[in-house]
């Protein structure tokens, strides 16, 4: 994955009455990017955890996420 060029992450926050809509755009991947595959599983989990943290004060802990992160770190 280190051989892939950097991609781009954009966070957009919009006030919608008493709520805030957060939109993440992660683009600029090359065709067949391995990072893209991992990112596609990672972001939903990160955002879900962020929402739990903001609304309930605790982050999520997912065993599968730890496992995948460890595998990617070792690769």
């Amino acid at each position: 994955m280190e051989a892939e060029p950097p991609s781009r992450v954009t966070f957009e926050l919009e006030q919608q009455k008493d709520q805030v809509r957060l939109t993440i755009v992660h683009d600029g991947f090359e065709p067949g990017s391995r990072a893209f595959e991992g990112i596609s599983r990672g972001w939903p989990f990160v955002l879900s955890s962020l929402k739990s943290y903001l609304e309930a004060g605790k982050v999520l802990h997912a065993p599968w996420y730890d496992t995948e992160s460890a595998q990617q770190g070792a690769a």
């Binding site: 919608q16 009455k17 008493d18 709520q19 809509r21 989990f45 879900s48 929402k51 739990s52 609304e55 309930a56 999520l60 802990h61 997912a62 065993p63 599968w64």
Partner: protein, 137 residues
């Protein structure tokens, strides 16, 4: 525990978007005033792991002309958590409902998560669902 949580999420999911789903035959999604906004047919029920159904938006004439799409929910236990994956597919080229769906589902899933974790769903502001080039309810 995973199974019980999956059942709880599935039940909340159905209540959340007011789907009258008997888990067989036809289904209808209604707006708060009782207007039917979407209809479909149950395709697959595998409690508490998977639910899929066809989805046909019927409020606008343009949407009615499109072929029905397909919605699938997959629920997988991961330790103490349940991972819910929603897939909505089979949109035809130039679909007029794809933009609305793309704004609606994140709001519904976000509201579902609030409901499950804090007991309160989000009141989704209509402005958050403003759809370009489409006359909503």
């Amino acid at each position: 525990m995973g199974g019980a949580d999956q059942q709880r999420i599935l039940k909340a999911l159905l209540v959340q978007h007011r789907a009258e789903i008997r888990l067989e035959g036809p289904l209808a999604v209604r707006a708060g005033d009782g207007t039917t906004t979407d209809v479909g047919e149950i395709l697959e029920v595998d409690r508490p792991r998977r639910l899929s159904y066809t989805f046909h938006h019927v409020l606008s004439e343009a949407a009615r002309k499109e072929r029905p799409t397909k919605v699938s929910f997959n629920l997988e236990p991961h330790g103490k958590l349940v991972k819910l994956t929603l897939t909505h597919e089979d949109f035809q080229d130039g679909s007029v409902i794809l933009d609305g769906i793309s704004k609606g589902w994140p709001a519904i899933l976000s509201s579902l998560k609030s409901l499950l974790e804090s007991g309160q769903p989000l009141a989704i502001p209509p402005s958050a669902l403003a759809i370009e080039g489409f006359e909503g309810p």
